[in-house]
């Protein structure tokens, strides 16, 4: 269920130093999030699509991920253009489709998808263990990295525990509904999941202490930065600078600045 389909791959992107990928993803994502004009957002989306293709993604999984991002965007498409104010495209009784609203949501759709693709290309291409190690070597606090790695390690275990309770309930013909009885069953099963988690955490900690755990993880294979990493960084910085400059000096769309 918590498979990482993008992390297994042999593309050019997968071979880059994870620290470099993380820094590039961070700057690309922040730069895109700050864009205010449609033209620059289109360029940014193009860049993201190219990087995404370079990472040779598995399309079936990619489709699901992009759909997840666009559920919220769909909600905005259904509500923002109907908000009152400004000139309307179409008027039907008291409901009008607002031109400014449509332009705003178009811009957000472009930006949102560009960021999602950048993220899939540069961050989802490493598994959580590598992500933790990369964050740690980028001076992220040890405790936070520890929390990330442990939470990831144990979501599988906690989910297993929940599924055991759930199938036991199903075997006893439990059909959930909106009533106190169902809620009590849910609450007992959820409470049990939390209690089991706490009990297990005590055992895990004792086992770790017995093995001499001192607070940080030691890695056997350090990251290495190669020539291609530097070329990648330089290219990406130039492209982002062009996109950002296009956004600041976007004369023909000056009227469409929202933020």
């Amino acid at each position: 269920m918590f498979d990482e389909p993008f992390a297994r791959g042999q593309s050019f992107i997968h071979k880059l130093d994870p620290r470099i990928r993380l820094l590039c993803a961070g700057s690309g994502i922040i730069c895109t999030a700050l864009l205010r004009h449609r033209a620059a957002a289109v360029y940014s989306l193009l860049l993201a699509v190219i990087l995404f293709i370079l990472s040779k993604p598995k399309l079936k999984f990619a489709f699901k991920r992009i759909l997840a991002v666009n559920i919220f965007i769909l909600f905005l498409w259904l509500t923002v253009p109907l908000s009152p104010g400004g000139e309307n495209f179409v008027q039907a009784g008291s409901l009008g489709i607002n031109r400014r609203g449509v332009e705003l949501v178009t811009l957000l759709t472009l930006k949102s998808n560009a960021i999602a693709l950048l993220f899939l290309a540069l961050v989802a291409t490493m598994n959580v263990a590598v992500l933790g190690k990369a964050l740690s070597s980028l001076r992220c606090p040890d405790k936070l990295v520890f929390l990330l790695l442990f939470t990831y390690r144990y979501i599988h275990v906690v989910l297993d525990g929940w599924q055991r309770l759930w199938s036991a309930a199903k075997l006893r013909a439990f059909t959930p509904g909106s009533n106190v009885r169902s809620y009590r069953a849910f609450a007992n099963m959820l409470g049990m999941t939390f209690v089991q988690s706490f009990t297990r955490s005590g055992r895990v900690y004792e086992a770790m202490r017995l093995r001499g755990f001192s607070g940080s993880f030691v890695s056997a294979a350090p990251f290495k930065t190669a020539g291609r990493d530097i070329v990648f960084v330089i290219l990406l910085v130039i492209l982002l600078a062009i996109i950002y400059a296009r956004d600041i000096y976007g004369v023909e769309h000056a009227g469409s600045a929202y933020f």
Binding site: G85, V123, F194, S197
Partner: protein, 199 residues
Amino acid sequence: MHISEGVLSWPVLAGGAALGVSGVVIGLRRLDYEKLVSAAFVASAFFVASLIHVPVGPSSAHLILNGFVAVLLGWAAFPAIFTALLLQAVLFSYGGITVLGLNTFNMAFPAVLCSLLFFPLLARPGMRRAAGAFCCGAFSVAGAVLLTALSLSWTNEGFALSAKILFVAHIPVMLAEGVLTVLMFSFVHKVRPDILKFF
């Protein structure tokens, strides 16, 4: 509902990130490694709970349980929720990196506030405990949705309608989470009362 990336304006994102990071720092300071392992397990359970759908009226909603997490962890709910949201972004593309700080603050702050406010009630027996647990569950979700709606409307006045719809649609979820928190709290109180005094 998670706000996607690229939607909010930079002052809202930056303010949210600053508040979220401060909360995470405060939470981490209060955790030694033993408690950190427990916090990781609670974060895992919070992550798993967000995948579970419970029936609410004619429809269904996924659980949030931020209130219950704060009852168990106190300020440590900040780093736990931060981690779970980061994993949701990495594994499912829900939410994202630029909104991570803001989403953490929106989810964790009302929950921590409720756990501090209603703590005296939770320690009392009987109906007062149930009332405290209900308030923790319901107001934590209400606060989270309210902050999310405000983040939208502070970005652009065009989002006012979306923000209102978002809030109204979550009212049944608030009630359901309140009821569930009462029942879960009473279950844990019967089975392992010691973990409720953990933090």
